[in-house]
Amino acid sequence: MSESTAKLNADKHVEYIVNLGRAENTLSYHLTEHLRLNGIYWAITSLSLLGRIDALDRSAVIEYVGNCWNSSNGGFSSHPNHDTHILSTLSGIQILITLDAVEEAKIDTSKVVDYILQLRPSNQGFFTGDEWGESDTRFTYCAISTLSLLGALDRLDQVESGTSIKQKIVSWFTQCINFDGGFGNNIGAETHSGQVFTAVAALAIIDRLDIIHTDNLSWWLSERQVQNGGLNGRPQKQEDVCYSWWVLSALSILHRLHWINKDKLISFILSAQDPDCGGIADRPGDVSDVFHTLFGVAGLSMLGYPEIERVDPVYCMPVKTIERLGLKKSYTLL
């Protein structure tokens, strides 16, 4: 395919996303309840970057998010009546902040902050996903991002047996660093682009990127680009549109976004669009989904594709939203 012919089919993607919300009677809709709030965040953010946030019913979304909030423990669940989890909690907050609707949804944010803080095992530098104790760099990112979005980052300055929570977090991330400069999901785990994003972005939020070896890690990240222009998550693995987010965001925060071939990646992302039903898939020919639609659009946004709003590589939210909150960190977009 020639690079000049493929174009972003923005109207189709908006239509695709809006139709997802109308599929309430299908089986697959019910089978994805465990991801519903994340799904709405992916949808809202895609629409916002495409300049069409008005395409979803704002008050219906706010009401739904409100119904996912558990006022007794302070967390959000993926769907009303499901259990709370840190992944859905970050999504809930991201949606409400993008819609500037935290107050309208009548969420007591101090309870959300407490929910997050109690997910850290005492004396540890990581957060768990829920009370069952699974640990993963993703969850620590979720915790730090949520606290930052709610203006409660100073809670990490609290000292516990001699060191602050923030210092414990930095020390935990330091233990997760591998010889290739990257991060896995836990201490000892293999470097993975998705986990690299969570670590780099979390460290950016708490201003501790100094523990990262920038050139070493950026070298590894730029090697994720394969022959057809797409990016993979680990050495010798297949390319996938979502890595356009995980890899590019980290490169952007490390100011090395220009280390990959921008034009080839743009045409790879565009080739994964579904020309008939809209949406973007993990790779050309596959069925599209809202997750890959967001990460494809966000990738294009960082690469300076025309007529897409800028995405913030640290928070994966519109730049204008993060600027409104005064949380903008240093990064380079193309």
Binding site: L31, H34, N81, H82, W132, N178, Q236, N261
Partner: protein, 305 residues
């Protein structure tokens, strides 16, 4: 869902949950509910019955993992079941516990045979090895690989070799090997040049098999980092020579060039010979032609002479 809302915690509700999870193993709320039911049952039944139930959980999740090997929630539940089961064994049952753990190692091996890069399986393997050595004592480090015994490190070294020999492209196994050897050599108070050379031989074999496989070059990079200062100049010169030979056979090989560039610069740090930097720039210039996608990286890396 109705059962959960009414806080029903009976054995019958467990069966309903089992059926539901077979259809939708991503339903994390049901996994949570399942654990709540089980924990409640454990207070009513004896140790033997508890162990039996937990063994069933291991069997149940194994079946699901064969079908859905990348679902976090299944792995998460399996970890819980294993940890809970391990805690039920008394000191007299140490053999039973060991049998269970070794059985788990075999289970992970079988899943890694289906997908040797599955990071969930590798993560579970590391958790398992950690659990096998976990000590309640707060002062001992209980993270992988520091917690492993010398014997286990040797075994795991052998396992990673097995994976690598099956497929040189399995970077997950090379990665695991970096962790295992680092710890083994730390226990031994350092690494001998013979041990290092054994690794260099292994990696050389892999390089010649497929010079375009970056897993191998990444491991080589790690290996060079392990060489002590008093040997580094000799080793770098030897390795540069050997990579050069391969480069002559494979003049299009990006990874040969990339490594020649990198190691010439590294050698310069130790010898200060300016000729090496001139060569470094030459290799980078060649890389711009061979690997234009990363042109800007090479341009940024050029040094002023």
């Amino acid at each position: 869902m109705d059962l959960r809302n009414h806080a029903v915690k009976t054995a019958e509700s467990l069966d309903a949950v089992t059926e539901l999870l077979k259809i939708n193993p991503e339903y994390y709320t049901m996994w949570n509910y399942r654990r709540i039911i089980l924990l409640n049952l454990f207070t009513e039944i004896g140790v033997d019955a508890t162990q039996e139930k937990l063994s069933f959980e291991l069997m149940f999740t194994l079946g699901l993992l064969k079908e859905f090997p990348k679902v976090y929630w299944i792995w998460n539940h399996r970890t819980w079941a294993l940890e809970t089961l391990s805690a039920t064994f008394t000191d007299e049952q140490a053999d039973g516990r060991l049998w269970e753990w070794n059985n788990e190692l075999k289970m992970v091996d079988s899943l890694l045979k289906l997908d040797s890069r599955n990071f969930h399986a590798w993560g579970y393997r590391r958790q398992l090895l950690t659990l096998m050595n976990f000590k309640e004592d707060r002062n001992t480090v209980s993270t992988f690989p520091h917690v492993l015994s010398r014997d286990q490190l040797l075994k795991e070294k052998q396992s990673t070799l097995h994976f690598i020999e099956n497929n040189f492209s399995n970077f997950s196994a090379w990665h695991q090997r970096t962790k295992i050897l680092s710890q083994l050599w730390a226990l031994d108070g350092g690494v001998s040049i013979d041990d290092l050379n054994e690794e260099f031989d292994l990696v050389k074999q892999a390089m010649y098999t497929d010079p375009s496989d970056q897993s191998v070059w990444l491991y080589h990079k790690w290996l060079i980092q392990q060489v002590a200062d008093e040997n580094i100049v000799d080793v770098l010169q030897r390795e540069l020579e050997s990579i050069n030979e391969l480069y002559e056979l494979e003049p299009e090989s990006k990874w040969c060039l990339e490594s020649l560039a990198h190691y010439n610069k590294l050698l310069h740090q130790h010898t200060q010979a300016n000729e090496l930097l001139r060569r470094y720039n030459e290799y980078l210039t060649e890389l711009i032609t061979i690997d234009p996608d990363r042109k800007n990286r090479y341009l940024d890396s050029l040094v002023k002479l």
